[in-house]
């Protein structure tokens, strides 16, 4: 079984030293979320993840969720762990106190999301979509619905899902066929098939609250005729108690490459009673509130799995002896593989990406909170635009880097990495869903380029580039070489941005064929920006914690020397155009 120690020190460093967004610090309701409180929460979080949840990873992989006589059974140990999990209040961490939540900001709950992803992604998925559904109901439903459903969801006694995909519509939701027929009492009867529904059915909670997109009988075709419905597994009585079974059955569950402890269901809706959430035909908008936050969480999954892969690689490299290092001090036997330059390089590559991502994520959590909770609408909007810009970036970069990192972790483990015993290959398989679900990474790149760079509020990407350029006005001499590298890459990214904006107007295929590369270029620069903020503190505060800051500075050095230069290759190749691609005839 893999080892795991939650990186509480690094998280607290971010919370203490990089919680410096002025707008974030103006949010009234988080004034009392102080360092001591957060440290206590993270210490408790570390305990449950390391001790209770981590062992579920292997259990879920070896005993996948099964469908038995129409009932989905989770792997051994899941139910007991889930009961403890909700008893300790972890589902309620970021929820509104009005419905029983603890009201913690994303600057805290994001750390928990990372730890839980490290410990067991399969287990995490049972509560993750509940939070998504909670957010969606919280933002868009009527008071009556909120009062009826939210307290039980916050408590974790009921869970939630997002039911979007159908056999012929994954990415392209306009093709959706599920129907909603209005009843005389204002409810709807929902009928249709939904596939790839994460936690669509299971035995962990008393009820499951499905959020389902469907087309009302008289609604137009395409994405403009989609409405959103709340459809509970069991109907809920007036008094909040569980009533009769609703018209939903589990057709099958998927047999998958990884996350085998998670139930991925085909759900058949047959005249199931549903309640419309938000406005008719505006269901996609409401759903996307939830989808966007969810996409960031998927990025964090990639970060969490990267962290545990890294920790195990370091540990193994310190134990395993093979071959002599160049400057070997041992006379008669092999050296630990961590002495080999190539292994060190591989480990630093992981570390520099992981810690940069965590810092970027912390910056984004502050922006997200500002976008949701700042009193000034203009400030909210500005933050929201940055969040919306960075959502596809975080989702894609963190999950793709997760593949690079888990793959490198396997290489460090050699043959032992490919066998089941060490659990390393499982990290690789589990992470492999993250570049696919919640919109494949290619879809994210298209979303970024065609919808997020410039929107109705103006030129978001330029505002972002100005902001990060501005952050390099740092006086410290030692940071200069980093800033110079950073500026070189901002310049490349700016040129790339101008090029792609022009192509969006005049040659869409060129832009489409460059989307993925553009996203990567922006992603590597964003992580570099996060590193610059970390370096600023590291140099300024150096004498107070030399070992810690020296580690940061050296890790950053690796990132700037060996990772950041990838930006240029993405720029160069992507801007060669697309005629030779579009004209190609595949036999």
């Amino acid at each position: 079984m893999p080892i795991y120690t939650a990186p509480v020190e690094d998280m607290m460093f971010l919370f203490d030293k990089l919680r410096n967004n002025k707008n974030y610090n103006e949010i009234e309701k988080y004034k009392e979320v102080n360092s001591e409180l957060v440290k206590n929460i993270l210490d408790e979080a570390a305990k449950i993840n390391q001790n209770i949840i981590l062992p579920l990873a292997k259990s879920g992989d070896e005993n996948p969720t099964i469908l038995e006589n129409g009932v989905v059974r989770t792997p051994p140990g899941y139910k007991e762990a889930y009961d403890k999990y909700i008893e300790d209040g972890w589902t309620s961490l970021s929820c509104d106190p009005k419905y029983g939540g603890q009201g913690m900001p994303k600057t805290v709950s994001t750390f928990f999301d990372e730890m839980l992803s490290s410990a067991s992604l399969s287990f995490k998925l049972y509560s993750e979509l509940s939070i998504g559904a909670y957010n969606c109901i919280h933002h868009h439903a009527k008071e009556e619905i909120k009062n009826k459903y939210l307290p039980k969801m916050v408590e974790g006694k009921w869970s939630g899902t997002m039911c979007l995909t159908e056999p012929v519509c994954g990415t392209d939701l306009g093709l959706l066929k599920t129907k909603a027929v209005e009843q005389s009492n204002g409810t709807f009867k929902i009928s249709g098939q939904k596939i790839f529904i994460t936690s669509g059915d299971h035995d962990l909670t008393e009820n499951i609250i499905h959020l389902v997109i469907a087309r009302v009988t008289d609604s137009p075709k395409g994405t403009k005729g989609i409405s959103l419905f709340l459809v509970p597994k069991f109907n809920v009585n007036e008094d909040g108690s569980i009533g009769s079974k609703n018209g939903i059955s589990t057709g099958s569950i998927e047999s998958k490459m990884g996350v085998k402890g998670s139930a991925t269901c085909v759900l058949n809706f047959e005249n199931a009673v549903g309640y419309m959430i938000g406005t008719k035909n505006k269901g996609l908008n409401a759903m996307f509130t939830m989808m966007n936050l969810e996409r960031i969480v998927v990025g964090i999954q990639g970060l969490g799995i990267s962290e545990i892969a890294y920790q195990n690689s370091v540990s193994y490299a310190k134990e395993r002896k093979q071959g002599k290092a160049n400057n070997s001090k041992s006379t008669d036997s092999a050296d630990h593989i961590i002495e080999h330059a190539d292994i060190k390089k591989s480990l630093l590559n992981m570390k520099s990406i992981i810690e940069g991502e965590r810092a970027l994520c912390f910056w984004l959590s502050q922006q997200t909170e500002v976008s949701l909770n700042h009193k000034d609408e203009k400030v909210r909007q500005e933050a929201s635009d940055f969040v919306s810009l960075m959502t596809p970036v975080v989702k894609t970069m963190f999950t793709d880097m997760g593949m690079e990192i888990t793959s490198d972790a396997m290489q460090v483990h050699g043959g032992y990495g490919y066998t089941k015993d060490q659990g390393i290959e499982q990290l690789y398989r589990d992470n492999r869903i993250t570049p696919i679900y919640e919109g494949t990474n290619s879809i994210q790149a298209i979303d970024l380029v065609f919808r997020k760079l410039v929107n109705k509020n103006g030129d978001i990407i330029n505002r972002y580039l100005d902001m990060i350029k501005n952050d390099t006005n740092i006086l410290n001499e030692k940071i200069k070489p980093f800033v110079e590298d950073f500026n070189t890459n901002i310049k490349i990214l700016s040129n790339f941005t101008s090029w792609i904006k022009e192509k969006i107007q005049n040659s869409k295929d060129d832009a489409s064929a460059a989307c993925n590369d553009y996203l990567k270029a922006l992603g590597f620069v964003s992580i570099a920006h996060a590193w610059i903020k970390v370096l600023e503190v590291s140099f300024k505060d150096y004498d107070n914690n030399k070992d810690f800051y020296e580690d940061k500075i050296q890790t950053a050095k690796f990132y700037f020397e060996r990772v950041l230069p990838r930006v240029e290759n993405h720029f160069k190749t992507a801007t060669t155009g697309s005629d030779y691609i579009m004209n190609f005839k595949f036999k």
Copy 2:
């Protein structure tokens, strides 16, 4: 189940148009291996791979090999398919007619290796090591041993293994503990444990001929005290019939991420009777004859799996409709995803790498044959040096690119790529062993840089660079832009080479930390070299087969515009040195 059509047309193109190595064409014994014969062989090979072996892939994945009461049982269907396989003579394809082989050159057998890797890597592994063992015995054993063992191995009734790895020694064979005690009759008693032994035991053949490295009691420590032994599963009587069981038992078989139909065994040798092959204490040299050829075959596994992943991606992209393409002609529904720029780009990336690799491999097959069979020793040596230079390159590039390609294939398939039904995720899992076994790709990179660039025969890499530069003296105007790109990258590679040679002398850690990048740079340039040779023919012979050659030219264009530029990034980042890496203290 994945679809697969053997790429016979592309293979015949290479055999007909690029079999232009003067030295190769001087080899007497292959004079009669003509186009018609080869076409017949490949057509038959396509049939057995498409019809009989391809279905075994899924069967082996769903019903992994098991160890039952000390006996290893292969998956359902394997035995019947193997019987047909040897009945049709496929094990004998490249073997010496003296022992019953068909005497085909590697220019032909390599194509078969590729097809078999596409169809089922797990199944392939049961005969692959037999060929390795055959080669080793053929080169190093006494006539008496050859006559006793080779005919049955060529026939496929007996199979072979390579037993190197032990629990504490994978990469570093000097640590090996298995002992060999000489007996009065000149045989040895072998005792020790070997792990990760591919096809170490199974029920497909009557006998298994293990080639085992071990240390004779009075031999020195380290790699200089290793000898090689032939140790049969069943002792073989004087008349060639099967005798008593030898002292070998199967301790366990590995539970792995992929290639589940292949038996990866822990073998315990307890006073097993063994026969020394080659010279005492020179066992590693003898083993490496086999290892080197085997490493190239592992590269070809990556190529084969890439090919089937590509074919399925194209097929799926032509069937699956999602979203509107930029220049959509459909008015009411989505377009096939192959119309999307990003998907086309991904498919061309696969195709341009695969076809370049196949061409490079064909070039290498000719060199290999020259190195083994040319009458002039000097010519043999020169070819041998090139083969030895390119061995780690082909092994690493083709397997790493195999991961890139199978991963991209999953992305093209979206959620369906992650579920078991389509068989795409299996390609990804199966291929994941290839960057690990036969020496991890990092070890290959170290081997390349520290042992292959310059050896006792001189400066091999410079000879190689001169040779490929020489190949660009092509008069055709249309090839010019390709040649210019190629020359730019040769120049970068030359600079990288000078840099790394200097570091090998003066700063080994810098060289070690740059090995992987250097290998990649050389790999991408080598594939570009293969493309230049393909382009030369394509332009010259254009009018005789316009569609085919236009496809080649456009595919090459993609390679030169979007793949080859990666060379520069490898050079830039790798030459930043290693102080900041070596001095890093991992907590």
